[in-house]
Amino acid sequence: MPGILDFGLAALMLGMAGWTIVARKNLAAVMGFVVYGLLLALVWLRLGAPDVALTEAAIGGGLSGVLLLSAAERLRDTAPTAHRIGGAGRLAAAALSAAIAAGIATAFVSLPEPAPTLAPAAQANGGATGLGNPVTSVLMAFRAMDTMLEKVVLLLALVGVWSLARDQCWGGRPGPRHRADPRGPLAFLARVLVPIGIVVGLYVFWTGADEPGGAFQGGTLLAAMWLLTMMAGLADAPPTRRRRLRLALVAGPAVFLLVGLGGLLLGDAFLAYPVAFAKPLILAIEIAMTLTIAVTLGLVMAGVPERDEAE
């Protein structure tokens, strides 16, 4: 019986992927991609990875749609400067994609049974961090270095988005000024949904200690809610030169780095937590990280600085 569901999901996803590639208008293709992302969350759940399902729902369902649509909008007014890819180019791209997919499939199928995995080791050592969710233990303790560097990468992505601004707009407010009828449905939706979304975001972050969840998923939800207030015209995007904003952006990696250096000076190694303080330290890092992720992703979605502060 589960087989029918899985087969149906796989078929639907392939269909959506195909449609996304074939769709002619940007808006249609982006919607296909978002639908694909939302279905992928279902697939992750079926594969027994609820943390990844949460992240996929957050990023694929919310973030990528907004990002792609903003990019499409920026390109809409510009004249195409390059030739459209011809038939041969498309064929080559299709062949390359198929080859990569075939390679991954072969590698997966030829894995020894049982596949080599560190999962039992991670679960066995979960007691050292005091966290019930082994995924969070891996992210925040066993592979903390990777998580810290990922946050820096997010920051670099934001700088990349800002670098698209015209020179005179550097440090200004990102994106256009959104206006909406203050008594209309959009403002109403924002007023009611945003507080609920914030609570859900904080809940998802908090529950990541013992259940699927965590700082990244929670932060993404908070970022989406912040963007919703901006889209409804209830708040304006802050100018990117504001000091408090920039402090919030670096808070996550900074706290991580401080704790890491503390581990180096006072403990055994960089990012080593003393076992007695492991959980409070991890919590402190996660709080800072959630703030940074929320602000960074929110600003990335808000767009390129276009307006000066005075407006």
Binding site: G184, P185, L186, F188, L189, V192, L193, I196
Partner: protein, 98 residues
Amino acid sequence: MIAFLGDLLTVVAVSAGLVFFLAGTVGLLRFPDTLTRLHALTKADTLGLGLIVLGLLPRAASARAGLKMVCIWLLILLAGASVSQLIAREARREGPKA
């Protein structure tokens, strides 16, 4: 006895919910224009979800899980009401199509 009643509620409510999902999709396929299709989607699917949530309540892992499911349904009610208004305004702005 209680377990049997719970199972009965689950089967009946979920089946009813599925009927409404089917009705919503049939509406999407058969209705002639955007606004009627929007109506079919938001009303039928929302009611279908409500019935499914009702059916799954007896099987909820805890009271908190059951409460979460009801909150999800209320959120979808809110979303359906607001987003359908926005889409309808966009449809009116676009003008009548084939």
